[in-house]
């Protein structure tokens, strides 16, 4: 760091050419080196691979459910299996894919984007990964005993021992273990971002992805202790004779505690995705983000409001009207900063020079789908309307638009954007675009029609339905869509497999990025940076490129004088 400061501070006039050497150390290899690593990049990759394995498992569970529902009164799956499938699908996608996949990207890129050598607490970082893996294994081990069937919301009294003798405990331990993992990770992110930023990187120059990871970390720290305590009480209800959540206590207590965590969790899942979009759009539109301050501030406002909207999941419970009105209004309010983000993203594209690379396509697809999830979110926030739509396929469609069309599309945007940095190789563009198109079409065919399925009266979490009206036709359409969607995801997996071996070499900065991760080689060395540049704007890499162009341009001019009309970058 000291050497870096000297070199960067010395760069007032023309920099004195110098060579900075670091101790050359052979990178350790072999499986043991992965098990024992505390390197944020390796932990990031382990997170990424593990979460994608769970993503595939959760996806297969979803396809099995869609197969069962493809036909009215189907007998493919027993109700027991079906209930276990939607419980495991929801739990897997939330606790084992979307939340931890941001730990993957966050681990890998937060230190790189802020010019740090590693996370603040590398050993805690490793612990956080292993706790996460343990949580996933404990949960899936329940398959060999009795799988949980109470839904990922585990409403009491259904999740009490009287009605669910087995399975729930594995779910409780999953919440404990992954919760502890995320909590440790969140503290680590917070400490890293607060203390380890490159010289000159004030809060107003923090990359927007890092802003969102900061907000993600704060929300995790606020929400996770509540669910950890809540599931502990459920555990004592189940095994130690307490009565917090049965009729001697109050089942409503569980719902309040669960959603006090559950709703912030939604924003925990989508927040870093917002950050990815705010990084990808400016790079591929070749234009600064429109309204940096508004985009950063809206994340903080969303996080604050996210803690005040939980009971909009409980509009149909026996609650006083004044409570319903409060939570309707607070849910409306959260639409404003979310709308601000969408408008700012659109304005970022406006008058840019947009390059149609795969990350940009996923980002644009995200906007197109997420806005629908936002609009249906306002519809279900109107509590009398929610009395019709709550717990139906309309809600299933709504939250898949937010979490699949929203979060998952941003994850894919991030994957295509950062894959070259993580592996040193580019992903294939043709396969990437094919994957994006199939996923968009598949997603829309699967979930758009589910709004109508819900409004026609089909509740969620039913293993079979009678063919009333057009229900069978609509469900068949949805099932067909889910297989198109799965094919699209499969294309990306194939793309990763091929490109890891045969992809063209990426070089340090294949996209002409704006942030510091593009300043190091791809993949970055263990120590990340030999020299940490002084940060002078939100787009330090753009500054560096300009400076290089200016310097080399001057040298070129000196060598062969050119007419003054030549394009001057910057200006």
């Amino acid at each position: 760091m000291a050497a870096a400061d000297i070199t960067t501070r010395g760069r007032t006039a023309a920099p004195a050419p110098q060579i900075t050497a670091h101790r050359v150390e052979r990178e350790p290899t072999g499986w043991l080196s992965w098990v024992t690593t505390t390197d944020h990049k390796r932990i990031g990759i382990m997170y990424l691979v593990t979460t994608f394995v769970f993503f595939i498992v959760g996806g297969v569970e979803a396809l099995m459910m869609r197969l069962q529902l493809g036909q009215a009164d189907n007998t493919l799956l027993s109700p027991q299996t079906y209930n276990a499938l939607f419980t495991m699908h929801g739990t897997t996608m939330i606790f084992l894919f979307v939340v931890p996949v941001w730990a993957a990207f966050g681990n890998y890129f937060v230190p790189l984007m802020i010019g740090a050598r590693d996370m603040a607490f590398p050993k805690l970082n490793a612990l956080s990964y292993w706790l996460f893996l343990a949580g996933g294994l404990v949960f899936y081990a329940s398959l060999f005993f009795s799988a949980p069937e109470m839904g990922w919301t585990a409403y009491t009294p259904l999740s009490e021992t009287a009605f669910s003798p087995g399975g729930v405990d594995a779910w409780i331990f999953l919440v404990h273990l992954t919760g502890l993992s995320s909590l440790i990770g969140a503290v680590n992110f917070y400490a890293t971002i607060a203390n380890m930023r490159a010289p000159g990187m004030g809060w107003g120059r923090l990359p927007l992805f890092v802003w969102t990871v900061l907000v993600y970390a704060i929300l995790l720290i606020l929400a996770l202790p509540v669910i950890a305590a809540a599931v502990t009480l459920l555990l004592t209800d189940r095994h130690f004779g307490t009565h917090f959540y049965d009729t001697q206590g109050d089942p409503m207590l569980w719902q309040h505690l669960f959603w006090f965590f559950g709703h912030p969790e939604v924003y925990i899942m989508i927040m870093p995705g917002f950050g990815v979009i705010s990084e990808v759009l400016p790079v591929f539109a070749r234009k600064p983000i429109f309204g940096y301050k508004a985009v950063a501030a809206s994340s903080v406002v969303i996080a604050f409001l996210a803690l005040l909207v939980w009971a909009h999941h409980m509009f149909t419970t026996p609650s006083p009207t004044v409570v319903l009105i409060f939570f309707m209004i607070s849910s409306f309010l959260i639409g404003i900063p979310t709308g601000v983000k969408i408008f700012n993203w659109l304005a970022t594209l406006w008058r840019g020079t947009i390059e149609f690379r795969t990350p940009l396509l996923f980002a644009a697809s995200f906007i197109s789908l997420f806005v629908i999830g936002g609009i249906t979110g306002i519809i279900v926030a109107v509590f009398p309307v929610d009395w019709q739509l709550h717990d139906t396929y309309f809600v299933v469609a709504h939250f898949h638009y937010v979490l699949m069309g929203g979060a998952v599309f941003t994850i894919f945007a991030g994957l295509y954007y950062w894959f070259p940095k993580m592996t040193g190789r580019m992903l294939n563009e043709g396969l990437g675009k094919l994957s994006c198109a199939l996923m968009w079409i598949g997603f829309t065919v699967t979930f758009l029609i589910q709004h109508s399925i819900g409004m026609d009266g089909m509740p969620r979490r039913v293993y079979e339905y009678p063919d009333i009206g057009n229900l069978e036709l609509y469900n068949l359409i949805s099932t067909i869509g889910s297989f198109i969607l799965a094919t699209g995801i499969g294309v990306t997996l194939v793309n990763v497999y091929i490109s890891l071996r045969k992809g063209p070499k990426a070089g340090p900065d294949p996209w002409k990025g704006n942030t510091l991760e593009w300043f190091t080689p791809s993949p970055p060395p263990v120590n990340n940076f030999d020299v940490v540049p002084r940060v002078r704007s939100v787009e330090p890499m753009k500054d560096i490129r300009r400076e290089i162009e200016r310097n080399t341009g001057r040298a070129v001019q000196r060598a062969q004088p050119a007419p003054e009309s030549a394009v001057q970058p910057g200006g």
């Binding site: 209930n83 234009k287 309204g291 009398p384 709550h390 026609d456 339905y465």
Partner: protein, 299 residues
């Protein structure tokens, strides 16, 4: 530089709004086929919810068309071309404040409209004229502030009880003794044109009472009582409204069916009488059996 460009922007804006209106009109045609709206037609509260939904949905369609319009336009118009230079704009405070306020105004409008519609969703009307005193209806004060009773206080009060995996309906007669009340399972029979006030409870796990055409769903949570109402229009006598439990309640949740059969008041009174005499007959049979057993005979 202002005028021609602002004109162009205005023209585009006008076109977009016109397209949005035409689009919503077209969609409202489809909406009448109930592909795009919730179920309604069995009770005034369901109809009011439907109206409220259509308003929010219409506004949503306009926002959706706007965002998709700008998105698609930008992607097509501002594709990287040879010689094109991206405008290095960092923001525009006025514009940003403008769309923040616009978003807030839309939400204020939806809130106001919701509050205006709420009474017709929450508060039941009186039964049709002449039907206030159909057998089975009782008058009385509400047992809880949230109990839904019409202005004149007379309604057919039914206790709805959720249990794994069936609904039980008790027609309370107001004498304070639940043991002599008429009851039925799965199918609720009600007189059309009469306001029905429901008290919803659960005895094991949480369930949710929902007949889509008769209004919203209300959770049956053990230890709590939830309230709602419906009133089937007189001309719909003879209709069966179907619904099912809407809160996961266990393995057979999918088959916890609820039906409401609306009949004419006369048919209802006959049904109620038959049920009551059935109950009396079985009470009598049980009494005779007790006597036989007490006398040492075979039951």
């Amino acid at each position: 530089m202002g005028t021609p460009r602002t004109h162009a922007i205005r023209r585009r804006l006008a076109t977009a709004i016109a397209l949005a209106l035409v689009g919503s009109l077209l969609l409202s045609g489809v909406a009448s086929a109930d592909l795009l709206t919730p179920e309604s037609g069995g009770s005034p509260n369901a109809d009011s919810i439907d109206t409220l939904y259509k308003l929010v949905f219409g506004l949503g369609i306009i926002v959706w068309l706007g965002v998709w319009g700008v998105l698609i336009y930008s992607l097509l118009k501002y594709r990287a071309r040879k010689g094109a230079v991206a405008a290095q704009i960092h923001g525009n405070t006025k514009l940003e404040i403008g769309w923040t306020v616009a978003a807030a105004l839309v939400l204020v409008f939806i809130s106001v409209f919701t509050f205006a519609t709420l009474p017709s969703i929450r508060n039941p009307p009186n039964s049709d004229e002449g039907l206030e005193n159909v057998a089975g209806t009782t008058s009385g004060v509400a047992v809880a502030q949230s109990e839904r009773l019409p202005p004149n206080g007379r309604a057919l009060r039914i206790d709805v009880n959720g249990q794994q995996y069936v609904w039980r309906y008790t027609y309370t007669d107001g004498d304070g003794n639940p043991l002599n009340d008429v009851f039925s399972y799965e199918e609720m029979v009600v007189p059309a044109g009469v306001t029905v006030s429901l008290r919803i409870r659960a005895q094991d796990v949480a369930h949710s009472w929902w007949i889509p055409k008769l209004g919203g769903k209300f959770d049956a949570v053990p230890g709590h009582t939830n309230y709602t109402w419906f009133k089937v229009p007189a001309e719909k006598a003879g209709t069966v409204f179907r619904g099912q439990c809407a809160e996961l309640c266990g393995r057979n949740h999918a088959n916890m069916i609820a039906k409401v059969r609306a009949v004419t008041p006369e048919e209802f009174e006959a049904w109620l009488e038959r049920k009551r005499s059935d109950i009396e007959a079985s009470n009598e049979a049980a009494a005779q059996q007790r006597e036989r057993v007490d006398a040492g005979q075979n039951p």
